[in-house]
């Protein structure tokens, strides 16, 4: 085991101001509005990276379904905050509820049968499968007509059940719980088996969650998107017409329009920063607690840890659920920021891969590293577009103006971002696997 690198904390003190400096440069040269927009997404990315760092850096678990958990958080944000659509509920609410009850009942029944027939060998698998299939078919008889009625209720404006109409800030917690529950099921099935099964299963569940959100219109409105999700912060229009805000902008000498947009973004920034700092504090506490030491012991040597009486599988399950819940919280925050729920944005590239690059570039096992990685990678993901375009411009210089080949490369230039990010990940894994701010390993006994 390597000894601690004393320069790591000094490096952190150097790198964070550098990052903020880069953001400030964007503010000065491009616009402060853009800078705040990037900063807000940086904060959300950092929270996701924090969650993934828990799983990977503390416990060595590979989660390939980050976007699925983010989407679950997003769904929670939508369901909690949107007002319920009474007409749709009257049309099919009862049927949907009944269908869900049938699901739950058959689930409980299957579980009881599973418990009851312990030790009968293969037979109980068949019983459970029969109960599951029967329950599913029964629920379809109730669900299908109900869903049809819901989806045909004012399809242009609603066509779904709506939400609970509660304050959206509540959904951040709900999103975490929802993602955590799904993670629990996945973890229960795959943890304790070979390490890559978790990766494959999380990849699968995230694909299915996205497919579900795109196709189950009665719940999510599918690809028609849910827009106008209520905000936790004031709207620009309202701000512009309030007296005290006009007074402030007048005294500072700013344009009211610009100031209101900056103010709203700053509100978001402070909310996100609050969540980030709180989670960071909790993660740091956890890392330096006996629990954190145990997690690292398990990560570094599972056999030794289990010989010491640690239950490796259930500790893994615990940290997997917590990490996924944090990603779910960040997913809910993302939808809050966007103000709309659009299942098509959960592209595997946008979340899963980028977050992985963040954690590995920043420094796996170090919370500050994960946050720094979240900032840097998101910043460069945005700026890489410019770099990619420049590269293409240089590459295609010898080609004549207006040639088909040149047009093709200019149109596919955005794909270069992927290539660059893939390269960054590979280079870091090879030459700096501990990341920018490496994990601190205490030398004290």
């Amino acid at each position: 085991m390597k000894l601690s690198i004393p320069s790591s904390s000094r490096k952190a003190f150097l790198l964070f101001p550098l990052m903020l400096g880069a953001l400030a440069l964007v503010g000065v040269f491009q616009s402060w509005n853009l800078m705040l927009a990037i900063l807000n997404l940086c904060l959300i990315s950092a929270i996701m990276a924090l969650g993934v760092n828990l799983q990977w850096g503390y416990a060595g678990l590979f989660n390939a379904g980050i976007m699925g958990f983010a989407a679950l958080g997003g769904l929670a944000a939508m369901l909690v905050s949107k007002a319920p659509i009474m007409g749709a509920w009257q049309a099919g609410g009862f049927g949907v509820l009944l269908g869900v009850i049938i699901w739950i009942m058959s689930g409980i029944l299957a579980y009881l049968v599973w418990r009851r027939f312990k030790g009968t060998g293969r037979r109980r698998y068949w019983y459970v499968i029969i109960i599951a299939v029967a329950g599913y078919i029964l629920s379809r008889f109730v669900l299908d007509p109900a869903i049809l009625r819901i989806e045909s209720f004012e399809p242009a404006s609603s066509g779904y059940l709506g939400g609970a109409g509660l304050p959206i800030l509540l959904s951040w917690g709900v999103g975490g719980i929802l993602a955590g529950c799904v993670a629990f099921i996945i973890g229960k099935i795959t943890l304790g088996l070979r390490s890559d099964y978790l990766a494959i299963a999380t990849l699968g569940i995230s694909e299915i969650v996205i497919f579900l959100f795109k196709n189950e219109d009665w719940l999510t409105r599918g690809v028609k998107n849910v827009t106008g999700i209520p905000r936790p912060v004031p709207y620009e229009i309202e701000l512009q017409s309030t007296i005290w805000f006009q007074d402030i902008t007048d005294s500072v000498g700013m344009n009211v329009m610009q100031a209101s947009s900056l103010f709203v973004k700053l509100c978001y920034t402070s909310l996100f920063l609050g969540v980030l700092l709180m989670l960071l504090w909790l993660c740091e506490r956890a890392l330096n607690s006996p629990w954190g030491r145990m997690m690292r012991a398990i990560r570094d040597n599972e056999i030794a840890a289990s010989a010491m009486g640690k239950n490796v599988t259930s500790r893994h399950l615990q940290i997997f659920v917590i990490g996924s819940a944090i990603v779910g919280i960040a997913g809910a925050m993302l939808v809050t920021l966007d103000g709309q729920f659009n299942p098509s944005i959960y592209h595997p590239l946008r979340f899963t891969f980028l977050i992985w690059v963040m954690v590995i570039v920043g420094g796996s096992g170090n919370n500050f590293g994960a946050i720094l990685g979240g900032f840097i990678v998101w910043f460069f993901w945005i700026e890489a577009e410019t770099i990619g375009n420049m590269l293409v411009y240089i590459i295609t210089l010898p080609l004549s103006e207006g040639s088909a080949l040149k047009e093709h490369f200019v149109s596919t230039a955005p794909q270069l971002r992927l290539l660059i990010m893939g390269l960054v990940l590979l280079l870091f894994l090879r030459f700096s696997p501990r990341g920018l701010i490496p994990e601190r390993i205490s030398t004290k006994a």
Binding site: L193, H408, T412, L419, I420, G422, L425
Partner: protein, 337 residues
């Protein structure tokens, strides 16, 4: 009697023929993944993109041939392009092995680190491929489209339902048969193949018996390259080439490999067909099937569909989960833990 024949023909047309073709493509993909797992001991997430790369090379070669006027009508030009695509894909994989994978192999890193490396390779390749060929759908199947059309079948047999077999489907199955046989012959009969299996069973023991690991690994990558290029090209030929589909294809391929038993070549091939057939059986709308079989007054009104076709991926996932719960080693005992 005629009704029963009609019902069977219906199933043959909508389930058996397409699933045989799709299953063959999955089987080739899963065989590649399983070989990597058996020898290099990690789950290769980049396999889908390797298939995509092979397809891209095939398409470029086909375009070249088409512009030169070379064709093998009635067969698709893709068959002619396959050898080139195989060679270039093998070259790519050997370059990747030399620049990326070998370092970690020498370090004997944990499988999970290897997996992250393969994810990095996956995205690098994805960006590379999309940069060169773009993201739009490309159809490159030329030559005769059908071996037998549904209408011809109806004429010959006099049934109300017809079976249509597309040339691409027949080619897929035949090429798969040839390639899988060749791979199994290689693994079981040749000295190199035997040394590969020995290496897979016990690395240290194989080293002691004088098997060179570098050689085994290079041969493995070459086999995988050939399999990936063929699997990708056949899939693209059958369903049209769209780069991002190959990213999603990784899931059913992994499911096929795990259902069959990871690291077990026979299991991988069977697993491919298991996944393909269950996807088709579960997402098929049985309305017409039952209309033929049941008396008229019992004929179903709904589509009688277990799951809508959008959830094809869910089927492979559910199968994967069931196998993990019930028999984590897969149908044919593969490697676990």
């Amino acid at each position: 009697m005629i009704d029963i024949l009609n019902a069977i023909t219906l199933l043959a047309n909508y389930i058996i023929v397409p699933s045989l073709a799709y299953g063959s493509q999955l089987a080739l993909g899963a065989l590649g993944i399983t070989l990597i797992y058996a020898v290099l001991r990690f789950s290769n997430f980049a396999h889908g993109e390797m298939m995509s790369f092979g397809t891209m090379i095939s398409i470029f070669t086909i375009w070249l041939f088409q512009s030169e006027g070379i064709s093998i009508h009635p067969l698709p030009t893709a068959l002619l392009a396959l050898p080139f695509s195989i060679i270039i894909t093998i070259m790519l994989l050997l370059i990747l092995d030399g620049t990326v994978f070998r370092y970690y192999q020498a370090q004997r890193v944990q499988p999970v680190t290897f997996m992250i490396v393969s994810v990095g390779v996956m995205f690098f390749l994805a960006g590379f491929i999309r940069f060169f060929i773009g993201t739009s759908q490309k159809n490159f199947a030329d030559g005769e489209r059908f071996i037998i059309k549904a209408s011809q079948f109806k004429q010959i047999t006099g049934l109300a339902e017809g079976v249509s077999i597309r040339t691409t489907q027949a080619i897929t199955v035949i090429v798969t048969l040839v390639l899988v046989t060749a791979v199994f012959w290689f693994l079981n009969k040749t000295r190199t193949g035997k040394s590969m299996r020995a290496f897979s069973d016990n690395e240290d023991l194989a080293l002691l018996s004088g098997i060179k690991p570098e050689r085994v690994i290079i041969i493995t990558w070459m086999l995988v390259g050939a399999l990936a290029a063929v699997a990708g090209t056949l899939y693209g030929l059958d369903k049209g080439y769209k780069p991002f589909v190959y990213l999603q294809l990784v899931l059913p391929i992994f499911a096929a490999a795990i259902v069959g038993g990871v690291g077990n070549p026979i299991g991988a091939v069977i697993g491919g067909y298991v996944i393909a057939f269950s996807e088709a059986f579960i997402t098929f709308a049985y309305k017409r099937f039952f209309t033929y079989l049941l008396p008229e007054e019992w004929a179903p009104e709904s589509l009688v569909q277990m799951l809508s076709t959008e959830y094809k991926f869910a089927v492979s996932f559910v199968l994967l989960v069931i196998v993990l719960l019930v028999r984590p080693t897969g149908l044919f005992r593969g490697k676990t833990l």
